[in-house]
């Protein structure tokens, strides 16, 4: 069932399941981490697709056409709104 984008739940990126897509809502973290995240394309409004997430260890997402590996903790600092359920 398709839900209105604004009513979908907002979750940390590391809770996104493989093939699920999300829209970046907000980022937290120190200046250095934030700067590197935004440079690689994690800005509010960007679409991310989870590529690999085994529930533990680092994960891989697709953002702006690039595969990016992220530590679990770092991914937890990015909050996304689920776009659809994969």
């Amino acid at each position: 069932m398709e839900r209105g984008a604004d009513r979908s739940p907002i979750i940390p990126l590391n809770a996104l399941r493989p093939h699920q897509r999300g829209i970046v809502i907000e980022l937290a973290g120190g200046r250095g981490v934030l700067s590197r995240m935004t440079t690689l394309g994690f800005t509010p409004g960007a679409e991310v697709t989870m590529v690999q997430n085994f529930g533990h260890g680092p994960l891989i997402v697709l953002i702006r056409g690039t595969r990016v590996a992220l530590g679990r903790g770092e991914a937890g600092k990015i909050r996304v709104r689920i776009v659809d359920r994969g």
Partner: protein, 661 residues
């Protein structure tokens, strides 16, 4: 000559094929050095077109131009302070959106920009349709489509460079603007700093960087304006601490407009090669097995191909040279014969036989890097590195250490957190470098015969076990703190470029030969001189005296004075221990060093020697870069003391246990 030379800077994000393009443009007309005062490699080359000479400067690969790393500072300082006539920014057409971020950062700077749109073939495979003319119109700068790996578009790029330098006044880029909700605050800052911005920094750029919270620019302006003037700026900045994300979002919004105009993607998301490989290569279990297999294969290849070549060089080239020299010098004084044959040929010759092993290892490393695999290795190692309080990125410099510890220590720069970088540097010398492995490859057959390969693997495993233990304990005791952030790009896999790999190997080999020709030559001669002076044979030489002084310590490991001296000289360069042993055991035309050592030394002694050799203090070059990279002698000396204690303790332990059997 009246002819003018123009300077072209080559910028680009990592993994876009910058070295391929650089090599294509300059060929052998290139020089590898360091950026002034930095240990980052700088490549400068030249090419001519229509009678004009161009100096091409390769800027470090960076994702952005914000002061997050030394690379980024070098790249932007060069553009702002050296004012190149053109900046060519190489972008990957297949990941255009992210790549245009660097373009968005370059356009506000004073130098004219040309966009070289590389990997058009890969972009097409991925289903993108890109219209370079539309992008050119949207950006207001020249856009040259190319496929650097197939030398397509190079000529057009050079023609574009030529046109831009000769018509500099026609350059009119459409610069990205800040997001509307932050335009006012940017103007406020610009008004506050007006008149305080030092030459040659553009005022509007400085204002933007202040808003982004750039460390370097903030420090610079704070010093310039004094506390009173700065306070007003600081006030504005504090009220807009979300500006960093807003500025980046603004750039990506601008990029979005460019992309919408110039790129269509009729068929998106078919499963590409990268995704198929990564299902295995990044899997928590299979990925590790693949990594282990690749490493195993790399070492097997290195030694299977390298050892016969090494033997051939040793017996035919070095042996032949020694024989030739001794017949030529038959009528010359004995000291001259000794100096030439034992000192120079014996020392440097043996070291040169390491070249095949180094060459093959560097080739494999360059291949893994160039295909895009290395990032996957970092990814699968991440969870293990966590045990040591490090993350996946630390694996990359440590892996480099198998070639040489010096680039490993310098490579630790990719790690952003100071604490994790320091710990990685402290651990790097425990990775057995090619020079140490070559010593093992040379000596292990002497002591272990058929079981030499097994013994070599055991020695490597011991080093890695010590590294892991040291990592876990250092992390517990000395490096308590939070983990650094792990974020890295996993580039698309692609077919390696043999030219790039070839040139990399060539440069590494040249650097090694230069070292063999200088430091090692000098040490070989010094060791030889110390071994014959003050006269009356090696047993009463200065070298023997030093060795005898240390012998009581050596006895605990079954070492005689000669082995202690060999260890000492390995401090200068690891491969020296072979050269030293060659001199001390009197190896020459009659019998090779390995036979002599096998005959004279017991197996426990041999084993203990190899163990200590593998774990011993880092070589002079490594100590020097540790000092440089950590910024203090304290860490360099701590590292030496740590490894000295660890190697001797384990050496004693191994010997005492081995003699029981």
């Amino acid at each position: 000559m009246a002819e003018t030379t123009y300077t072209v800077a080559l910028a680009g994000q990592p993994n876009v094929g910058k070295s391929t393009l650089f090599n294509l443009l300059t060929g052998m007309n290139q020089h590898v050095g360091n950026w002034p005062g930095k240990t980052i490699e700088q490549k400068v080359g030249s090419f001519t077109y229509n009678g004009t000479t161009y100096r091409l400067v390769d800027l470090p690969g960076t994702y952005s131009l914000t002061a997050n790393s030394i690379e980024e500072i070098i790249a932007r300082d060069f553009i702002i302070k050296e004012r190149p006539d053109v900046v060519v920014v190489l972008v990957d057409a297949a990941t255009l959106e992210r790549n245009l971020y660097l373009v968005a950062e370059l356009l506000p700077l004073p130098a004219p920009v040309i966009v070289a749109l590389n990997m058009m073939d890969v972009a097409e495979q991925e289903g993108y349709k890109i219209e370079p003319e539309v992008l050119q119109a949207a950006l207001g700068v020249k856009v040259v489509p190319m496929i650097a790996t197939r030398n397509i578009g190079t000529r057009e790029l050079v023609a574009a460079i030529d046109e831009v330098v000769h018509h500099a006044d026609e350059y009119a880029p459409k610069r990205p603007e800040i997001r509307a909700d932050h335009r006012q605050v940017l103007e406020e800052i610009e008004a506050l700093i007006a008149g305080h911005v030092p030459e040659p920094y553009p005022q509007d750029w400085v204002a933007l960087k202040l808003l982004e919270g750039d460390r370097e620019i903030t420090r610079m302006m704070r010093e310039r304006m004094g506390e009173a003037g700065w306070e007003a700026v600081h006030e504005v900045l504090r009220a807009h601490d979300d500006a960093l994300v807003a500025v980046a979002s603004g750039r990506y919004e601008w990029i979005g407009r460019m992309i919408r105009a110039a790129v269509t993607r009729p068929r998106a998301g078919q499963i590409g090669l990268t995704e198929r490989i990564d299902r295995w290569a990044t899997h928590p279990l299979w990925g590790l097995l693949i990594l282990a297999a690749i490493l195993g294969l790399a070492f097997w290849l290195t030694y299977a191909l390298g050892t016969p070549l090494q033997d051939w060089l040793d017996s035919v080239v070095v042996g032949g040279l020694a024989a030739l020299m001794s017949s030529l010098l038959a009528n010359e004084p004995l000291w001259l014969q000794g100096l030439m044959i034992d000192g120079i040929i014996g020392g440097v010759g043996t070291v040169i036989t390491f070249l095949p092993i180094l060459l093959i290892f560097f080739a494999i490393l360059a291949l893994l890097e160039d295909t895009g695999y290395m990032a996957r290795a970092a990814y699968v190692m991440d969870r293990f590195m966590h045990l040591m309080g490090l993350h996946g990125k630390s694996f990359l410099p440590l892996f480099l250490g198998f070639g040489c510890n010096v680039p490993a220590v310098m490579g630790a720069r990719v790690i952003e957190s100071h604490r994790a970088r320091l710990l990685t540097i402290m651990l790097a010398p425990l990775i057995p470098c090619a020079a140490r492995m070559a010593v093992v490859a040379f000596l292990a057959p002497a002591f272990f015969g058929e079981a030499a390969t097994l013994a070599s693997w055991g020695l490597v495993a011991l080093n890695l076990a010590v590294l892991a233990l040291a990592g876990v304990s250092l992390n517990r005791i000395a490096f308590k703190g939070s983990l650094a952030a792990f974020i890295m790009e996993l580039p698309l896999y692609h077919v390696p470029n043999w030219r790039t790999i070839g040139l990399t190997v060539w440069q590494h080999s040249l650097a090694f030969l230069r070292k063999a020709g200088t430091i090692i030559l000098v040490v070989s001669v010094i060791v030889w001189a110390l071994s014959v002076l003050p006269g009356g044979g090696i047993e009463s030489s200065f070298l023997a005296r030093i060795g005898h002084f240390l012998e009581p310590l050596g006895q605990l490991m079954g070492f005689d004075w000669r082995l202690m001296v060999a260890l000492l000289t390995s401090f200068v360069a690891k491969e020296n221990s072979i050269a030293t042993l060659g001199v001390l055991f009197g190896a020459g035309e009659q019998a090779g060093l390995s036979e002599l050592m096998a005959a004279e030394l017991a197996r426990p002694t041999g084993l203990a020697f190899l163990v200590v050799q593998m774990l011993f203090i880092p070589c002079v070059a490594s100590v020097a870069v540790i000092r440089q990279e950590t910024g203090s002698w304290r860490w360099a000396l701590f590292n030496v003391a740590l490894l000295l204690a660890v190697s001797l303790l384990i050496g004693i332990l191994v010997y005492q246990v081995a003699v029981l059997f």
